[in-house]
Symmetry: C2
Subunit: 274 residues, 2 copies
């Protein structure tokens, strides 16, 4: 049997991901029927932006729809699933990097899927959905096909990613997003403490990232850690004396860089200031 | 007395920074007279790219010039300065983030300065010098004025940065460049191990950086560490079991994020997947 398109959608959750995904689904031609949230005001605020959507806080009174999308924190997923009543045969998909497909597959009489958008969503930021990788998984081929058809209306980068891959990808994303943001925060704080604007570091950050995305990053590593430049490392320790936590982090990151450089992974010749 | 422009330059060093700076100085209207390097072949290779420049390995036979620029690793600076013969009154400047002005000021009969380009220099990369912050320091106002005039021909971002500021800025740059590259390397390795292309993470990295440069990074932190999302943190630990070093780093970075979030620094409401 040919699978039909997923047209009508219910959003379970009204947080940052829902606030970004809801309007994108409408723009992709879907009809968002309903927004559920624990918090009535949040559900209503998001529903107001989605033509024809109702809002509510009762998981036992969800309107019929082709697709129910879970957009709540990971820990809330089992709670929401246990409380919700879904029409038999509906597609129910979560959007979490670190949760297995099995988190949804246990719900009786629904067709389970995962639609994981690999991006960070913040208020006030505009996301180009066309470029957001959408990582899909489903309990059966027909559901996968339906999710893929929907995903392709949102993004040019749609691909199958199974539960084990998705977990690793999520860890990789924590390093490449959350941890990088934290290091930039430390850079910001140190520059500010020196009475210098953070903007001074912008060209360096842009060149660093642009270089690391153009070649395997370990092969373009530079800096005092890689060079085992002991006098510079000692001066940096001194400069971080007021921040023992960051001093410790500096040492751990230095050790990790030196460990990689000593191993079998490809590396570049030592060199280059910074 | 009006100070004269620094026109003729001798490069002491032929490594990555010299390879980027030499052609930029020529483009800015300077005459690079000579390239010195410990290695004859390196000096010759760089000199060949600089019209009229000679090459050599003898620090006691440097030709006359207005400016002598030290472009060697930090540890080599005192060695080169001790061996070199400079004409009395010449400007001698180092280009290192972690070295004090005093490293040059001890040389008798020269005018000491620092010209620190805040950028990472790698082979095969084209640097837009106009955007590279040039951080200047000098032992006297006349020398500072001459260095500033030269620097303004290279870049639109020229500013005074003293020894103490420069050291902190250099540490900030290690966090914002070397350490970020290392985290991207870990992200690359984890994605590759999952059988997924690193390109999948590119939109996330670009959005992360673009967001962190638009607002103080600590105020836009997201992720499981900030949310104290214990189940996700536990799943990530498991996923990193094959890499105890990265598992350790993950925990240290998580702790550091949580420490900042618990402190008096500005922070955002917890939330947002990833």
């Amino acid at each position: 049997m040919a699978t039909s398109a997923l047209h009508s959608v219910v959003l379970l959750g009204a947080g940052r991901v829902a606030q970004h995904l809801g309007p994108a689904l409408v723009a992709a031609g879907c009809s968002v029927r309903h927004v559920w949230s624990r918090t009535a005001a949040s559900a209503a605020a998001l529903a107001r932006q989605l033509p024809g959507a109702t809002a509510g806080t009762d998981l036992t009174q969800l309107p019929p729809a082709d697709l129910y999308l879970l957009l709540v924190p990971d820990a809330a997923v089992p709670v929401v699933l246990a409380a919700a009543r879904f029409p038999a045969g509906a597609v129910v998909a979560h959007t979490a990097g670190a949760l297995p497909l099995a988190a949804v597959a246990a719900v009786p009489q629904v067709r389970a899927g995962v639609l994981y958008p690999l991006q960070t969503f913040s208020p006030g930021r505009t996301i180009n959905w066309h470029a957001v990788p959408l990582c899909l998984e489903a309990a059966d081929a027909a559901t996968y096909g339906q999710l893929r058809e929907l995903a392709r209306r949102l993004s040019a980068d749609v691909r199958p990613v199974d539960t084990a891959q998705r977990l690793r990808l999520h860890v990789a994303a924590v390093f490449a997003c959350n941890f990088i943001n934290h290091l930039l925060g430390i850079g910001h704080a140190l520059a500010t403490e020196a009475g210098l604007p953070f903007e001074l570091l912008h060209p360096l950050v842009m060149e660093t990232v642009s270089k690391a995305l153009a070649a395997p990053p370990f092969t373009v590593q530079t800096g005092p850690a890689l060079r085992h430049d002991a006098p510079t490392l000692a001066r940096h320790q001194e400069a971080l004396a007021a921040h023992p936590g960051w001093q410790h982090l500096y040492n751990e990151l230095t050790r990790s860089i030196q460990h990689i450089a000593s191993g079998p992974l490809p590396n570049n010749e030592a060199g280059a200031q910074l």
